[in-house]
Subunit: 103 residues, 2 copies
Amino acid sequence: MTTTKTDSTNDSCPAQALLKMLSGKWKPQLFKLATISPLRFNTLLRQLEGSNKQSLSVALKELEEAGILQKNVIRLRPLHIEYHLTEKGRALTPIFLSLENLV
Amino acid sequence: MTTTKTDSTNDSCPAQALLKMLSGKWKPQLFKLATISPLRFNTLLRQLEGSNKQSLSVALKELEEAGILQKNVIRLRPLHIEYHLTEKGRALTPIFLSLENLV
DNA sequence: GGTGGTAGTCATCTTTTTTTGACTTATTGA
DNA sequence: TCAATAAGTCAAAAAAAGATGACTACCACC
């Protein structure tokens, strides 16, 4: 069984999944904020007007699954969680900036 | 009427619209194919398995409106139309490739 | 044992995107 | 003028993404 099925959706375009993931609602903002400082859930919820728990939760989880953000639990009084850029996330930063410059 | 409304969706993230546009279904493939040779409608329809007229039509139109592709009418026997990269589209190419290398 | 803060989940509803299939326009060669 | 090919459009349905509001878990302090 060699390659019989032509999966034109993904085969030909490795960037597709990454692009789609990056472009989901709130994701570009989250990524950009993360290049500045680690993210915290309720802070984001207040910061990003019009956002909501569910969407942020999903967005953060997907950025995490894509290996762009990493979750850190911080044992403080009311228990904090911080999301910060991974190495892959940092590698993405200059690409993101050149995209912005193109606009 | 100065800026009263805080449009946090776009203000803070110039790349967002471009990312969203680029990530629509079929768009990354169309872009990538266009970096190789000009695109033709029915050829794409056969080439991209699972695609359909409507989606390709919309995708091509949006890539055109975004200034990435340009439409050329070629007066041949059954009338051909070619979509080719604009300068902006060519500027995007290296960014696209670095995205692919990141995956 | 009740209150308050952080960080969520869950079911449901709404909105946006994508697909389907029938129909349209333009040109040309027989 | 009829058939064939290229390049679409349009209305409707289906699927995916996003929003809403209620609820949960964990800890600490009073």
